[in-house]
Symmetry: C2
Subunit: 223 residues, 2 copies
């Protein structure tokens, strides 16, 4: 447990990715949720060619990982599947309507109100570092992201987690914070750095990360 070849839950991942992506592929999120909840899952590893093929696109229309299935449902989108897994465990989401609504709200906020701004910066710093447009654009991207981080920092204050207890929302938000590619910007928000560390120090996160890292083969499969 949690990786268990006979588990009800199946999560797809890649059999190989380049070094810079290792530990950041999004199957990390449902792996982490399963580790927190103590729920087993089996992994199904794909090469890129299979992921882009017509067959797999019935499971994941954008040709990405992860896709998810259990005995009841078939899904894609890491945020959605973390909410699905959270329905099985109070460790990830309260049972009452008010508490559930907060977790759904914060998962959505992480995915639509914060992560797109983080991606804008990743797109510059990781994929377009030397492009002329990126140099011209970067200051505005930093300012926009700063605004979002500032709002998040104000909300968090000295609370340990987004809501009362650690939840599915922190899995998504902490993985988003982990993608911020400018350390000086993050340093403006010490409580966000502490929050990120608090989440990533959890044994369940470390097990999920190790599970992803150890799933990669040394070399890509030959076509």
């Amino acid at each position: 447990m949690p990786i268990d070849a006979n588990a009800d839950i199946e999560i797809t991942g890649f059999a190989w990715v380049p070094d810079f992506a290792r530990g950041y592929v999004r199957d990390l999120r449902p792996r982490w949720a399963c580790e927190e909840a103590g729920i087993g899952y089996r992994q199904r590893l794909l090469d890129f060619e299979t992921a882009k093929g017509e067959g797999y696109r019935q499971e994941q229309p954008f040709g990405q990982v992860p896709a998810y299935r259990d005995s009841e449902v078939q899904m894609f989108e890491s945020g959605a599947m973390v909410l699905r897994i959270a329905e099985r465990s109070e460790k990830l989401m309260p049972r009452d309507a008010a508490g559930r609504a907060r977790i759904l709200t914060w998962v959505t906020a992480a995915l639509n109100s914060v992560e797109p701004f983080v991606f804008d910066l990743v797109n510059i710093d990781t994929f377009n570092k030397d492009a002329e447009w990126a140099k011209l654009r970067r200051p505005q991207v930093i300012d926009s992201l700063r605004g979002r981080l500032s709002s998040l920092s104000n909300w968090l204050g000295d609370k340990p987690y987004l809501e009362d207890d650690f939840s599915a929302a922190d899995i998504i938000m902490a993985t988003v914070m982990r993608e911020v590619s400018d350390d000086a910007l993050m340093a403006e928000f010490p409580n966000l750095i502490a929050y990120r560390e608090r989440c990533l120090d959890r044994p369940a996160f470390k097990r999920a990360l190790e599970a992803q890292l150890s799933s990669f083969s040394a070399e890509p499969a030959m076509a």
Copy 2:
């Protein structure tokens, strides 16, 4: 109905926005969901100053609209509140676990796998049209968005909606499609244009749009 001063549901909106934003503010989404479900809501209109203030940020940490409350829960994020409203009506989401998981999946996909790419283009075409970086960057943004639209178009095929019946997922995806600012790009995907029209032709959408448009005052409030 659905705007009803005594309704259980409260949705916030802006009392005034510039012309280019009218009809596109995100309270449109929960308004539409309420109209489809025939569930009443009351609106609470804010000026920008109030929305950015500390008090409102307890409801909406990013200082935006909409925020939402009903007798049980308090939320923000339009995608999350549409899912909340959908729990009250089979017109927006099936009752079975398998069907619910599909709607959650597609709402998340629209918000995290499609809308960020649409925003990239809006950011160029609406807010930075004459900037040097925008001219250099635009072809790549078009290519990335084309990839997402192509995947979505392949999934949709000749289906009328993302899943069997119209649902909360189509509310989010159709409002995302409505934001695509390049008609020539959309024209590459006739089934997406037809899908968008099919959704936006619904009487409930038209009522929601009219409700938002008629909520704006002619002039911003004086500070």
